[in-house]
């Protein structure tokens, strides 16, 4: 195998790497600016004391989704990346993920970004993610049939199941988010936490 093919076995094209790197730089920056690179922010979301995580996530979902589906509605060529709904795997995996997130105090993206925000213990979380990755790849053949192939509903969305145009789904979703945020604002004030 010559050097060129050896390199291509490991490294993708430079243009893709540069785009990925720029995306990661912006992503990490915004996670830090949103304060979700802090252990206390994540843990206090799970303790229901501080709703910063949900504020960031729901705003990103509504703004991101409206833009993506609007661009598609205008005929732009924007492929979707919808993950299949495999009920047992998503429910069980999501539950395990929630337990890990409570112990670590970060999720996979924020634990890596947290290293840049001064968190030293986050390094051990990253190390742990590699342990988890090894455990998962090695146990995959064991859980494939009993867990991962159960309840596969395919690539369904709220729009496909309601039979609505995707943008219409964002009307109740967006209004729901706004009502939720206003309720939080009231609650933040009365509990004396952040007055966002």
């Amino acid at each position: 195998m010559n050097t060129l093919t050896l390199a291509s076995a490991w490294i993708d094209s430079p243009s893709k790497l540069i785009l990925g790197a720029l995306t990661g730089l912006a992503f990490g920056f915004l996670l830090q600016r949103g304060s979700v690179t802090r252990f206390s922010t994540i843990v206090d979301q799970l303790r229901l004391k501080d709703f910063t995580v949900l504020k960031v996530m729901l705003t990103a979902i509504v703004v991101g989704g409206i833009g993506i589906y609007a661009m598609r509605a205008f005929g732009m060529d924007i492929p979707l990346h919808i993950k299949g709904t495999k009920v047992l795997g998503v429910v069980l995996g999501g539950g395990i993920f929630g337990i890990g997130m409570a112990i670590l105090g970060y999720c996979p993206g924020t634990v890596i970004a947290a290293v840049g925000d001064g968190s030293r213990h986050a390094w051990f979380g990253i190390l742990g993610m590699f342990v988890g990755a090894i455990a998962y790849t090695q146990t995959y053949p064991l859980i494939k049939d009993p867990i991962l192939s159960k309840g596969d509903l395919g690539k369904i969305t709220l729009a496909s199941e309601l039979g609505w145009p995707p943008l219409l789904v964002f009307v109740p979703l967006g209004l729901g988010a706004i009502v939720f945020f206003l309720t939080l604002k009231k609650w933040d004030r009365s509990s004396g936490t952040l007055d966002w």
Binding site: I11, F27, L30, Q32, I78, V90, G94, F124, A159
Partner: protein
């Protein structure tokens, strides 16, 4: 009145805009948790090609020794730049002087100031986290953010599942007491804001 952190709504909205850009110009969705398994799969492909070729999960991400898939790709580069991005945010946009965090205060109040114990906890938590993410097929980025905005039902089920399990776990581990103000997000805001 000066705030050193941004409104979570602003940070969230800009994450949404970042997704427009990746979807429209790169044909990619934000995601993180595939990268650890892709790296591990690439290593297995290199050191144990026979075993790697027999594991459908490893070949899905790394291919085989004969037909390899690149390991250092778009998401790898994204993941590698998360910490530098956060560093820029903390160093040049946050005015607060932050000490390095070895043991978070919420943790030390319950489990003591031992660094070794916290590091062990972080390691175990990280392992559980990625195992769950891969079983579910994504994490907070790929499932919750990218999936949620595409209205994918798997993304919304994932969010519900991790909250339903994460809330009682966090309450059990850290209790219900208020966070000490000097470590909470409140410390990031000017006192005059209240």
């Amino acid at each position: 009145m000066k705030r050193t952190r941004w409104s979570p709504y602003l940070a969230g909205a800009l994450l949404g805009v970042l997704s427009w850009i990746t979807f429209a110009t790169m044909h990619k969705a934000l995601g993180v948790s595939t990268t650890p398994v892709r790296i591990v799969s690439g290593v297995e492909r290199a050191i144990a090609p026979q075993a790697a070729a027999e594991n459908a999960y490893v070949t899905k991400y790394a291919g085989t020794a004969q037909e390899p898939k690149p390991i250092i790709e778009w998401q790898f580069a994204l993941v590698a730049m998360l910490a530098p991005g956060a560093f820029i945010g903390a160093k040049f946009f946050g005015n607060e002087q932050r000490d390095p965090e070895y043991v978070p205060e919420l943790w030390s109040k319950r489990f003591g100031p031992s660094r070794a114990l916290r590091y062990t906890g972080a390691l175990i938590g990280g392992a559980i986290l990625i195992y769950g993410a891969r079983m579910a097929g994504g994490c907070t980025s790929g499932h919750a953010l990218s999936g949620g905005m595409q209205l994918s039902i798997s993304g919304w089920i994932f969010m519900a599942a991790f909250f339903i399990a994460g809330v009682p776990t966090a309450l059990f581990l850290y209790g219900t007491e208020r966070t000490p103000t000097n470590t909470s997000a409140q410390a990031d805001t000017d006192k005059g804001a209240h």
